[in-house]
């Protein structure tokens, strides 16, 4: 039993924090929010140079091949800084789908470019997509909503449903965002988060577009979702931790508030929830690193992550007061993003349901 970071991990954490303090101030977060793309290319290139986009991917694709736990540590810091860009979408969820579901050529075609930051990937899910065979080859149709960073992406990994008369299970295919028949409509969201409804009007696919085999995509998708879920928890953990730091700093600065027992007790409750989430998140990450079954541990971490999000939002806004309600204050950047994270990859209700589904 050892709940500490290794010294290598501490270096990773500290260097990430230093980099982000310097390169990703709140002003840049606002700039990304107002840009319409939710993306800052200059920052993205620097993160790619640091190897962050491939931190856990195999070295022969250009990755750093570090343990999965390290990715969680990195995303704690990214969450803390509210780093913009398709980090979770492209470098985690999509990357793992390719890694677990793609064939060698697809990995070689996509992963090195993604790791270098030159290719951006996203994932379209839901029950609205299907593929079927025509004489000309495979055809993709239907629509998917909440496709993150779709406008920025080069390729969309589409999880297409098993359909009567077609495949018996999920088929994963790659669609180019520029292909004929792909239509994107922006979905205005909290924090101006960049996501789209994407329609596929009988988009023709080459045979190379199938990730793995027809009707065999479910396992790869699930493995990728599991990892992305833990990373989403780590991101929330970092974000919530920063909220506690803001509140405590404010309370120490305003002594009348800092000495208030009520304020202190709310901070203590947030601290407990944070420590809990850290233990739950790293327990799940460690299990994945050990290739142990981790479904329940992941669901526990993500379920508690929603509770943590809400508690940090309420604690922050109630203690920081009305000023935190103005656009100029950083707190609202955190509380708006909290809702995106909470709803992403299954919320508290969903993951509690997973815990008793048997």
């Amino acid at each position: 039993m050892d709940f500490r970071l290794t010294s290598e991990q501490k270096i990773l954490r500290n260097s990430a924090r230093e980099f982000l303090d310097r390169e990703c101030p709140a002003s840049l977060v606002r700039e990304a929010e107002n840009s319409g793309t939710g993306h800052i290319p200059g920052l993205w290139e620097k993160m790619a140079e640091l190897g962050w986009l491939g931190i856990c991917l195999p070295q022969h694709y250009g990755g750093l091949d570090r343990p999965f736990t390290d990715q969680a540590i990195l995303f704690e810091e990214l969450g803390r800084a509210l780093a913009p860009g398709p980090l979770l979408t492209s470098s985690v969820l999509a990357a793992y789908v390719i890694l677990y579901g793609g064939n060698d050529r697809q990995k070689k075609d996509l992963l090195p470019g993604m790791i270098k930051g030159e290719i951006v990937l996203t994932v379209a899910r839901g029950d609205g997509l299907e593929t079927f065979s025509q004489s000309s080859g495979l055809v993709l149709s239907g629509e998917s909503s909440f496709v993150r960073h779709a406008r920025l992406a080069d390729h969309i990994i589409c999880a297409t449903r098993p359909a009567i008369g077609a495949w018996p299970d999920t088929t994963l295919v790659l669609a180019d965002t520029g292909a004929e028949g792909v239509i994107m409509t922006g979905m205005e969201s909290i924090a101006n988060y960049p996501q789209c409804m994407v329609e596929f009007h009988d988009v023709s696919l080459s045979d190379d577009a199938i990730l793995g085999e027809i009707a065999e995509g479910r396992v790869a998708l699930e493995l990728a979702v599991q990892r992305a879920t833990v990373i989403q928890c780590a991101e929330t953990l970092g974000r919530s931790h920063k909220v506690l730091e803001m509140v405590v700093a404010y309370a120490k600065d305003q002594m009348e508030i800092g000495r208030s027992q009520s304020v202190q007790h709310r901070c203590a409750d947030l601290k407990i929830a944070l420590d809990t989430n850290r233990l739950l998140t790293y327990q799940a990450a460690w299990k994945l690193d050990q290739s142990l079954p981790a479904r329940d541990e992941i669901s526990m971490a993500k379920a508690q992550s929603g509770t943590l999000s809400r508690l940090s939002t309420m604690t922050g806004h109630s203690i920081l007061g009305e000023i935190a309600f103005t656009s100029g204050h950083d707190m609202q950047l955190y509380s708006n993003r909290a809702k995106l994270a909470e709803a992403n990859l299954g919320d508290t209700e969903y993951h509690l349901d997973q815990l008793i589904a048997d």
């Binding site: 988060y193 508030i257 109630s318 007061g321 809702k339 709803a343």
Partner: protein, 385 residues
């Protein structure tokens, strides 16, 4: 005991509902989280039309252009305006300044302000303490037949539209030496620093630099500010306006849950957990309603309702957040969509009320309200905060 309106009050409520259903098209109702100038101007127009019927200041004496009724009728008006999602233009003048002038103002002040308030012709803002500064309030130094104001104050609604500001100023060295004044916002030396809020509203810091005002701005006696705040009947907010608006979004949301789901599937209310949460929040809405009406009723019998008002406002702030969180959870990613997006449910009002609900200290901090309840209603001693 009686939990119902009199038949006159019911008639008023019906007539008002009739009026609002005609006058307020859905597109002029507030979209939560995105208050706009258009909506503000529309609310002033509604106010003037209400005033034409002597309904706007329904609780003020008829001689000042009011309706000559009491806090119950005022509560009915607030609740209905809230339910029709009309922005709160004029609210500061009607619910805070007018009662204070009635109780403590002189004849000149009554003549000067009350009718204009009753007719919806002037907008007031309310100056609050600044937390950051040790003193918190602007100072007012004697200067011949008037005062010179220096310092700053915070206001959280419609400051940029306000004609006058109602605020506490420090008129002496003692802790209790504070007084209420009304200041014309056009007076020279006043500078606004605007802070846009995340719901489209603006907060502002008002800086006073050697602002010269005459004696006539003082409401009541000098140094009686705290006394006025504590002992002024009808001064406490009932929260019925806000209650009405939250109830409305709750009703819309409930209807939505009983219709087909956003993805076209089974109604959300088919799920037992969703129904259970709807029931919990329905109870929360009723609680909010009763706590707010409790304040209005106490005012109607001339009682001071400090702790009761704190209970109503605190509960409403917390219940609004509970409802918003619950609705966000039920709608999942759809709840993160804003008005204008494809697939957005309920005009984006759930995402909007979530952001509104983050204004937890809108009507005073939760700590302040709990302190008031413990000390005023339970007689507990002062604590450290």
């Amino acid at each position: 005991m009686n939990f119902d309106l009199t038949s006159d009050q019911s008639t008023f409520r019906e007539a008002l509902g009739q009026f609002l259903s005609v006058e307020v098209p859905i597109e002029r109702q507030q979209i939560f989280g995105g208050r706009s100038e258009v909506q503000y101007q529309f609310s002033r127009e509604i106010n003037r039309k209400l005033a034409a019927r002597n309904w706007l200041a329904v609780g003020l004496p008829e001689e000042y252009g009011g309706g000559g009724k009491g806090p119950i009728e005022q509560g009915i008006l607030d609740q209905e305006l809230g339910y029709h999602l009309i922005l709160e233009s004029g609210a500061c003048g009607l619910t805070m300044v007018a009662p204070a002038i009635m109780a403590f103002g002189n004849k000149v002040q009554k003549d000067l302000y009350l009718e204009l308030i009753a007719k919806g012709e002037i907008e007031f803002c309310h100056g609050l303490d600044t937390v950051e500064e040790s003193n918190g309030l602007p100072s007012a130094e004697r200067d011949g037949a008037g005062y010179i104001l220096n310092g700053c104050s915070i206001s959280n609604s419609y400051t940029d539209h306000a004609d006058y500001m109602y605020l506490l100023v420090r008129t002496g060295d003692g802790f209790q030496d504070v007084s209420h004044v009304i200041v014309d916002m056009k007076t020279s030396g006043i500078r606004l620093e605007i802070f846009p809020s995340i719901n489209g509203q603006t907060a502002a810091k008002i800086h006073f630099e050697n602002v010269s005002v005459s004696d006539s701005c003082l409401i009541g006696e000098e140094h009686q500010g705290l006394h006025q705040t504590i002992y002024s009947p009808n001064y406490e907010r009932t929260g019925l306006r806000r209650y009405g608006s939250i109830q409305r979004v709750f009703d819309d949301f409930t209807d939505f849950c009983y219709g087909s789901a956003p993805d076209g599937g089974q109604p959300l209310a088919e799920h037992p957990l969703v129904r259970h949460q709807l029931a919990q929040r329905r109870l929360g809405m009723m609680t909010m309603k009763l706590l707010c009406w409790n304040v209005a009723w106490l005012q109607s019998v001339g009682a001071v309702a400090i702790a009761e008002s704190s209970a109503a406002l605190l509960f409403a702030s917390e219940e609004r957040l509970r409802f918003a969180e619950m609705a966000m959870e039920v709608l999942g990613p759809y709840a993160t969509l804003r008005n204008g997006s494809p697939m957005v449910p309920l005009l984006g009002n759930i995402e909007g009320i979530y952001r509104e609900s983050l204004n937890l200290s809108e009507s005073g901090t939760s700590d302040m309200h709990r302190n008031i309840i413990a000390q005023q209603a339970l007689g507990m001693p002062l604590n450290d905060m």
